[in-house]
């Protein structure tokens, strides 16, 4: 059973404590929406969950495979859309039909022979999301997946996320715009800012 849980997570970035004593528990089909002001550690949390950043304290319990979308679009200026996806497919053991499906689901089929340098920022973002589909992971960690996307594309991503959850997948998502995520848990990173943990303990007592 797919599961993603974290307990007592504390994150240190450079000389700064970003958040402390953070926890949540997600089962298959679950979703977590991260909110909080800039610098509250949404991206850091994503990177910790993805395994890119080691938590200073606490633990992440991850059952299943995870795919991560960060702020960057790993799009090479000289590779075509299809070449990019083919590469990630080869890396993750997916085959050509998965690439075709991903192109289709993100309305990239017409752009398949286009080189990355000619893509608009929204198109690059869609290519990044295409990689997510090709990976076929059970847990999606999506840091601002909708940056640069138009409304139609956002709707598309919403339905992809819904389908993923319906199939038993888990989604952790942060966004600055409206994003339909029915039944999602919400985690306000501001609640876990350093020092607040002590306050919460005080309130409880």
């Amino acid at each position: 059973m797919t599961r993603l849980a974290a307990s007592h997570l504390t994150c240190l970035r450079g000389a700064r404590l970003v958040f402390e004593d953070l926890g949540f528990d997600l089962a298959g089909g679950g979703a977590l929406l991260l909110t909080g002001p800039n610098g509250s550690g949404k991206s850091s949390l994503m990177r910790v969950l993805a395994g890119l950043l080691e938590p200073f304290d606490g633990s992440v319990d991850l059952d299943g495979t995870a795919a991560y979308i960060g702020h960057h679009d790993p799009v090479k200026p000289t590779l075509t859309v299809r070449e990019s996806l083919d590469f990630w497919a080869a890396l993750y053991g997916a085959d050509a039909s998965d690439v075709d499906a991903a192109l289709d689901q993100l309305a990239l089929t017409d752009l398949a022979p286009i080189q990355g340098r000619l893509l608009s920022s929204g198109q690059r973002r869609r290519l990044t999301l295409g990689r997510l589909l090709v990976q076929g992971a059970e847990i999606w960690l999506m840091d601002e997946p909708t940056v640069g996307l138009d409304t139609a594309a956002v709707k598309r991503v919403e339905s992809l996320v819904a389908a993923h959850r319906a199939a038993g997948g888990i989604v952790v998502l942060s966004t600055h715009i409206e994003f339909a995520l029915p039944g999602a848990q919400t985690l306000d990173l501001g609640d876990f800012a350093p020092g607040r943990a002590v306050d919460r303990a005080g309130e409880a007592a």
Binding site: R47, G51, L52, L53, L79, L91, R131
Partner: protein, 222 residues
């Protein structure tokens, strides 16, 4: 193996589609070599004496100058962190990237080296030894370079820093490569030199990617 080939073809493709960058490295190699006759005088004897050393030192510098290609671009656009998260061991990915780096840097340098040999009046007996030495030595330069490139990810003045880290580690390759040619030109055998170069290469193939992987993993922490 599929993943290794996938990374290799991707990096080769990326390098070949920006072949102007490759030409830059070769251009540096040739132009820098042509400075030496101006620096030490055009006497054929002196040039012949320093030719193996000049070619080796410049090959070393050319490889070093192209090291930023290994990870820098992938770090900037977020590809590197995705490569680090992929189910393939990162050291295998790095080995593939190093192979691509050597095929697009070391190999062209070997192809151009005889031209510089002619410019610097390298005696005819030295060419084969020079090329065999370069063939055995330049892959190690790329491997050690990958460690340096990984370590300097995210550092200030990374390009200059790589030089400081990597050049001392290049010294053994330089010594065995140059003395091999010197040995042959003075009537000795270069087999021992080749064996040392091969031994270092054999040790670097498994070890350097491991160290580079540890460095890259830290580098993508961001």
């Amino acid at each position: 193996m599929t993943a290794f080939l996938a990374v290799l073809t991707r990096d080769l493709r990326l390098a070949l589609r920006q072949s102007a960058d490759l030409a830059l490295v070769l251009g540096f190699f040739v132009i820098a070599a042509s400075l030496f006759p101006f620096g030490v005088g055009p006497s054929p004897e002196i040039l012949a004496r320093i030719a193996p050393g000049v070619i080796w030192v410049l090959a070393l510098l050319a490889v070093m100058l192209s090291l930023d290609r290994l990870f820098q671009q992938d770090l900037a656009d977020g590809s590197l962190e995705q490569l680090a998260l992929a189910p393939v061991p990162l050291s295998i990915t790095i080995l593939a990237k190093v192979a691509a780096h050597w095929l697009t840097t070391g190999l062209p340098l070997i192809a151009v080296a005889p031209v510089i040999g002619i410019l610097l009046n390298l005696p005819p007996d030295g060419y084969v030894t020079l090329l065999v030495g370069l063939a055995l030595g330049t892959p190690t330069l790329s491997l050690i370079g990958a460690v340096g490139a990984g370590l300097t990810l995210g550092a200030r003045r990374a390009g200059l820093l790589i030089a400081l880290l990597v050049l001392p580690l290049y010294i053994p390759i330089l010594i065995f490569g140059v003395t091999a040619v010197d040995a042959v030109l003075t009537g000795f055998d270069a087999r021992a030199h080749f064996l040392y170069l091969a031994a270092i290469l054999a040790a670097a193939i498994p070890l350097a990617p491991l160290a580079a992987a540890a460095a890259v993993r830290h580098g993508v922490e961001g």
